[in-house]
């Protein structure tokens, strides 16, 4: 968490969405954009990932798929998830 770089506007918006959806006790600025989302980092589990998938489909119009070979990379960090969404967004 010590090397956290400032979030871009898109990343901050995504971070705020996740924090709101999961009721996390933190601010977007406290999230390290490069840290893993799953288990470590934010310590999210599969229920959370489903929750995130829901707000993502509503907000960005992107349907996440588990058999996407890039899934590990996509959920690798807030930054990679945001990049995936910006590339595929329909909203």
């Amino acid at each position: 968490m010590s090397t956290a770089t400032a979030l871009t506007d898109h990343e901050a918006k995504l971070a705020a969405l996740i924090i709101e959806a999961l009721n996390l006790e933190m601010t977007p600025q406290e999230i390290d954009a490069g840290a893993p989302l799953y288990r470590e980092g934010l310590g999210l589990d599969s229920i959370d990932i489903l929750e995130i998938a829901l707000v993502i489909s509503k907000t960005y119009g992107v349907q996440l798929k588990a058999d996407d070979a890039d899934n590990v990379r996509i959920f690798g960090s807030l930054r990679s998830l945001n990049e995936h969404l910006q590339q595929h967004r329909s909203k």
Binding site: N23, R39, G43, I47, I49, L50, E51, S57, L64, A66
Partner: protein, 473 residues
């Protein structure tokens, strides 16, 4: 739960109602599956349909490869490979152990208490620190005749572990007769006879008692077929359903159902939706039925007793017992027995009996936690928290139920010099991630009362106070 009732223990255990014989081991052989023709599908895999003849050939071929081991930990992520491993172990008389979770500490304890434990894995299995053997599909239908293996009913098929009130894993031994009866009783209770050649998609793992019963056993004992995958995201679930022939059934949980209803406007048609792990909210049940054009039925049960009852919420809130299962009540609570229930099992829920077949569920007894089908107790969690290095005092809190999301635990910890992150990391080694506290509050002291106890109300007040403080700029 901690109330003392020790004095009347022996008599309290005896059935108060009509005389019920103790279940005695019956060695009558029962078939591994009931598919009457070799061409009937058992599973839908990425490589195509597996029919009953191929399944029995795969089971025999893999049984020949299994090393001599008394116990098996079947960690396969692919439902078909799980079934092959399960069937092969059953054929060889090796017990399949189903721990409550695959956390490192759980597996370590299991391995220590079961010398010679052998893991079965596949490409989707988590990495385990056990001797592992990959399940393979090497059956040759030219070599193996089409005949369902007959397994002695009293053979131990599975040992399910649940966390008891102390948190120590408590084993429940399931004979093949009980598991086979469970599959048959469920098919009958859900009236699946009206849905021949049913195709089943499950979002729950076969290692969970609900997943084992409602995807694998129900298919083997009902003559149906299951999808080998375990779709997770709504788009995956819909894709898995869409490619299967009808009639089809989705076996899922309120968590997945909510995500499906919220994100899929036009999901593929199904003929039956099945939900378990937590009671459905009526609105979610109505939305799901409307969206999928099919009834949503629910299963009530627990790992110890197995599945006990079904209901169709939109037709009535009452649960109907399966098969020959009976409930009775005494001062300790509600007991289930008969049918495919192993013995006499005390249930962890508050139940109101309506008549011999029907009851109303009023939620769980205090101290027990159920999050997304995973169970533990506050006592166990508090114990784990208080053994973390540097933690001087700590307590978990289960907040009140929320309407629209999975409720998460909170924890309050006195640990000078330690960060919340460090404590969470240590906890993650010991407990399932579903129970990790969110938030974890570092505090100066806990609101213990004069007797040293921490009243739940005091923790709720502390939580509110902390959240207000955070909102002040």
């Amino acid at each position: 739960m901690a109330a003392r009732r020790g004095l009347s223990e022996p008599s309290a255990r005896a059935p108060t109602g009509r005389l019920r014989p103790m279940p005695h081991p019956d060695s009558t052989p029962l078939p591994l599956f009931v598919h009457a023709s070799p061409d009937l599908p058992v599973a839908f895999t990425r490589d195509g349909i597996v029919n009953a003849h191929q399944f029995v050939a795969d089971v025999h071929a893999f049984a020949d490869r299994l090393p001599d081991a008394p116990h098996i930990l079947n960690a396969c992520g692919d439902r078909y490979l799980f079934a092959v491993g399960f069937g092969a172990a059953l054929l060889r008389g090796q017990r399949t152990l189903l721990p409550a979770n695959h956390a490192p500490a759980t597996l370590e304890r299991l391995a220590r208490s079961h010398p010679g434990l052998q893991a079965l894995t596949d490409a989707l299995a988590p990495s385990l620190e056990l001797p592992a053997l990959a399940v393979t599909r090497e059956g040759d239908t030219h070599v193996t005749p089409f005949e369902a293996p007959a397994i002695p009913g009293d053979r131990v098929a599975a040992v399910l572990f649940t966390s008891g009130s102390t948190g120590e894993p408590v084993p429940t031994v399931k004979s093949w007769a009980l598991l086979a009866a469970s599959g048959r009783n469920e098919a009958r209770a859900l009236e699946l006879g009206d849905l021949p050649a049913l195709a089943i998609v499950g979002t729950v793992p076969p290692q969970h008692s609900y997943g084992l019963e409602s995807t694998v056993l129900i298919a083997l004992q009902g003559g149906f077929a299951f999808d080998a995958g375990r779709p997770f995201f709504p788009a995956d679930i819909c894709a898995a359903l869409a490619v299967l022939p009808r009639p089809r059934m989705l076996v899922t949980t309120p968590v997945h159902l909510r995500a499906l209803v919220a994100s899929e406007d036009h999901p593929p048609e199904v003929d039956l939706l099945l939900s378990a792990t937590a009671p459905l909210a009526p609105q979610l049940a109505a939305d799901a039925e409307q969206r999928f054009g099919a009834p949503v039925k629910e299963i009530y049960g627990c790992s110890e007793a197995g599945q006990l009852a079904t209901r169709h919420l939109l037709a009535g809130a009452e649960w109907r017992l399966m098969g020959d299962i009976a409930l009775r009540q005494d001062e300790r609570g509600t007991w289930a027995s008969g049918g495919h229930v192993p013995g006499d099992i005390l249930l962890a829920d508050v139940i109101e009996l309506v008549d011999r077949e029907r009851f109303i569920l009023h939620g769980r007894t205090a101290d027990l936690i159920n999050i997304a089908g995973k169970r533990t107790s506050l006592a166990h969690l508090d114990l784990q928290l208080n053994t973390v290095d540097g933690v001087r005092d700590g307590a978990f809190l289960m907040p009140d139920d929320a309407e629209d999301r999975v409720v998460r635990l909170a924890a309050f910890v006195v640990a000078p010099g330690r960060t919340a992150r460090e404590i969470l990391d240590a906890l993650q080694e010991r407990i399932d991630t579903a129970f990790l506290p969110r938030p974890l509050h570092l505090v100066d002291s806990l609101p213990r009362n004069a007797t040293g106890k921490i009243p739940r109300e005091a923790l709720l007040a502390l939580a509110e106070q902390l959240s207000k403080r955070r909102d002040v700029p």
